[in-house]
Symmetry: C2
Subunit: 454 residues, 2 copies
């Protein structure tokens, strides 16, 4: 439904651009949400994007549009805009979005823009840019309501109606003491039910959850998700309120972190974007495949050591794919379950033994099941050959060991990486697959050589 | 930081339970958010959970706790609770959470509970349960503010302060006409700045985004994420407002859908939970591995056909892992990028040719790079053998074809599945890996047989 709407919108924009129907385009721009325009922009040619941008008059709408664009499209557009125009847009943008976009630009350009922006706006943005990437500080907005604890309910309501009209999300009234330290929070609901003269400190909620400016943004997102908050206050080391992280940013974080984890596990690197050019895509993916290449080489040299066995029993080679495949797949299952469990907080590294033990048990059971299957296939297929029973046993045992080791490695590695503060998603994907491949092949040929008495 | 807190909390609860320190436990329960208690519950033994539950007096807190528990823990607890107690909790729970939990119970038990609940609550819950799984209807809450379009701003504010005090998230005032049809929306901010006598219809926003009761919940989540809404109104086919989906539920949806996609791609099924018993885990994962088993068997029979070649050149076998591994890994990269791109709306099935073309190009380039590497290794290693150049060419070409086919299949399959309305995540994982394995092995031996003139 939504997709249909966007397709129709993109088509009409393209048609109107071809016809140069400026008036109609301006009408569409005025009526369309910047988030929808950003989707249309993705489908437009570079020239058309500039044309559309020139038709947009509202700097605030341009600001929202910019914040929704992908990095590459944004950078391309920037090349065609006058500095004054850019400054105008940045001044009308949420400070956290402006900070993020400026981070995409090279330092010189960013400095020029910041210098030309009005002092107050640029200071806010520079302040946010000074916090580390992926911290609460870098995504907070300075747009919050903070009032002194002695203020009465009626005065608070009046202040809300007068001073704080342009606060974007006025759900929580944060309460601070004379030193600016965060001491409580109150809601609109509380404000209207208490006696109008009652001061905030007498009815506010004191048990308030806050984060530090350097708290990891993923932790902030988990807090908001767990307690169903609409915003979390951010405080500095002195517990002074400096900003809030709002739920709309948390949604983006959760989606981005999930995408990042998925891509990292597939060995692509978390920032891989679909709109990449072929060459950039190749450059990003080349090194990730190198682990797999090294693993393949290792397997090659291992098998090379058993060339004598292969010359005697050539059909041993035919089982390599199924042994590697079963191990690889159960290893992927185990590591995915554990990596995702850690990310969503359902698995704790404290449970190491129970989690790894369970995965190993599942690996052994499934290994026995499929080892039996494959052993039977081997026995039936090579019934006419000498030592077919030994062959069947070799193959079956190889599947059991390969699947057990894979489940063990697949669950143990992400747990250990998490304990050592290495991102389990980025390290697990290639590492697990490659090591499982090597171990599988080695076990298989060792077992076969012994059992077949080569 | 958060994890530390939870660990400490769980430890003290366990210690107090051992000592039977009822008073202290009740104090902790009173002061702790139900979302935190649910984490503690996960760590407790079955008996301890029941003990804790008996100490909890507030049915509303129990309701929130229940809605945070995992299905298995919830079902276990249910067995130890009296029906009256359960009914009390369900009456004090958000209707959408109650509907979800009742869905876990067998029909008879659910009916008994619904019958004993007070009429109004049970009707609400049954109503929600009547909507299809994963639709907007099944997750909406009937907790919204809807007022007639003729009402003046001041009267609206008064109504908010009196009638709608227990609406959980009072951000939007929805405006309906005399037939109950949704015609607009207004915000608290608008209400306080307009003239007090001005009727809603003169200042409300008419361009309102709503969803149908049967809209897929993933689409609802994407809407909320795109436009930074705090809630979306849900209407029936007559455009009458019947509920809202709030942002806190959207966060859960986004996280669950991402987890589901990750697990499906790893071939585990989207509902795999880490706390599964070994036997259940085995049962769920067994069939998923069957595809991989069949693929392995197919590769086995293919290689069997080339037994003559293997007997002549045993070292051909040593290259099987690297060829399969490189193909498998680039195939996983491609399918992951496409599946996640589709899920986040960054890739549209309309872009089929450009997306698949780009992936294929990357596959060919990377294939040439790694094919060259491996060809050189083969030439150097087997320099003393006759036909070592032909062998090097065979292996190199096999890597190129394997990686190109893998990138093609890996990107094409999810696009086609999405077009055919089959979930690309569930279908892609095992399908892509298995077909790539088979094609890789076949191509390799075909090329080798021809070039080596066997």
């Amino acid at each position: 439904m939504q997709k249909e709407r966007h397709k129709i919108l993109a088509e009409s924009v393209k048609r109107l651009l071809r016809r140069g129907a400026t008036k109609s385009l301006q009408n569409i721009i005025k009526k369309t949400h910047a988030a929808d325009l950003s989707l249309v922009f993705r489908d437009l040619s570079s020239d058309n994007r500039i044309q559309m941008l020139n038709l947009m008059k509202d700097p605030e709408q341009k600001g929202v549009l910019f914040s929704e664009l992908e990095e590459t499209v944004f950078l391309e557009i920037m090349e065609h805009m006058a500095v004054e125009e850019v400054v105008d847009v940045f001044e009308n943008m949420a400070a956290d979005d402006a900070a993020e976009l400026l981070g995409y630009l090279d330092e010189d350009t960013a400095d020029i823009i910041l210098e030309k922006m009005n002092k107050e706006d640029s200071q806010e943005v520079e302040h946010l840019m000074s916090y580390g990437e992926d911290t609460a500080g870098s995504i907070m907005v300075p747009d919050f309501i903070a009032l002194k604890e002695d203020m009465g309910a009626r005065d608070v309501i009046e202040a809300l109606q007068n001073e704080f009209l342009d606060v974007e999300m006025p759900f929580y009234v944060y309460v601070i003491d004379t030193y600016g330290k965060l001491v409580g929070v109150s809601s609109l609901r509380q404000l209207v039910v208490v006696h109008p003269e009652k001061p905030l400190k007498e009815f506010m909620t004191r048990d308030i959850v806050s984060v530090k400016t350097y708290t990891d943004r993923e932790e902030v997102a988990q807090l908001v998700a767990r307690y169903d908050y609409l915003a979390v206050p951010v405080v500095d080391d002195d517990n002074c309120l400096v900003g809030i992280v709002t739920v709309d940013d948390v949604i983006d974080i959760i989606s981005e972190e999930a995408t990042g984890d998925i891509l990292k596990m597939a060995g692509v690197g978390e920032d891989y974007i679909e709109t990449q050019t072929v060459l950039r895509g190749t450059r990003i993916r080349l090194p990730w495949l190198f682990t797999s290449f090294l693993g393949g080489l290792a397997a090659f040299f291992i098998i090379g050591n058993f060339e004598a066995s292969l010359q005697q029993y050539a059909y041993l080679a035919a089982f390599i794919p199924v042994i590697m495949g079963m191990g690889g797949n159960i290893g992927t299952q185990s590591s995915t379950i554990v990596v995702r469990g850690i990310a969503t907080g359902k698995i704790d590294t404290g449970d190491l033994f129970s989690v790894v033990g369970k995965e190993l048990a599942i690996g052994v059971i499934l290994g026995i099941v499929y080892g039996l299957f494959i052993g039977i296939v081997a026995k039936v297929r090579f019934n006419h050959e000498p030592l077919s029973l030994q062959l069947a046993f070799s193959v079956g045992l190889a599947v059991i060991s390969s699947m057990s080791v894979a489940a063990l490695v697949g669950s143990l590695v992400p747990m250990l990486f998490e304990k050592a503060n290495i991102d389990p998603a980025v390290a697990t994907g290639p590492f697990v697959t490659t090591s499982v491949d090597i171990v599988s092949v080695y076990c298989y040929f060792m077992i076969a050589t012994i059992l077949l008495g080569i």
